[in-house]
Amino acid sequence: MTLTDLANPSRFLALTARLLPWFAAATAILLLIGLYQSAMAPDDYQQGATVKIMFIHVPNAWLSMFVWSVMSVAALGTLVWRHPLADVAAKTAAPIGAAFTFLALVTGSLWGRPMWGTYWEWDARLTSVLILFLMYLGLIALWRAVEDPSRAARAAAVLTLVGAINLPIIKFSVDWWNTLHQPASVFRMGGSTLDRAFLVPLMVMAAAFSLLFITLHLAAMRNEILRRRVRSLQMAQARMTQAGRRSA
């Protein structure tokens, strides 16, 4: 099956109906394994048990950027390839991405207080992630403000691509500026600096949250396709009512 085949919403709905139970089950199993491993992970020699916050903070932070990347590809799908499901994918990813970004900010803040002595610092990493969160909210507002989905899609696609400039700023903010936030310790030149005892639960939780995103995104896309069918049937109903009035 190719991307072109999935341009047919009915075919996409059929595929989603088959895949969703498997993705949901895999997410639940991986989350349970990840939570167990997180609970059993040893204390860090400096941070003590607060290192356990890393197992939920880091996957949410990664996903906050990954979801915007998915939306950027979808934006290209809307503007360049005009794929019928591209704007559906972009629109439905935004609230999920906003939720992951919110969680990255809150858990980071709750980790920062005992480790840094403050909940918040206006440094480059924290501020750029806050901007990402505000951009998600802006996109959601834009989708809600414009009634015609195709017009909203084009405006949102342009805004998404402009907002993608923030992704490398977030990623490299810890290298370019002096920040309280630590530099990358997993995906870096020379390999991860994390001990295996922390790296394994972190990667399992990252996989679990990624699967959670895929599951929620597929389900939200299915809902959006149904919502558009409702809209087109309501318009057909309005046309029929109008024609009935004219003939009477």
């Binding site: 356990k52 939720a99 980790w111 929620l216 069918r229 049937l233």
Partner: protein, 59 residues
Amino acid sequence: MTLGPYASFIVTSYLVVAAVVLILIVWVAVDYRRQKLRLSELEASGITRRSGRSATDIP
């Protein structure tokens, strides 16, 4: 497993994540039921898709 002096920060972090994930799951599930209900109501009132197929049936 002991969480040490910062247990409240750790527990709060996990609770907030659990709450938000739960809200997302409920939001998606409720939205699905609402759309299916609306489509069923429209089809029951005689409005059909141009293809003639049911909008609620997933092939």
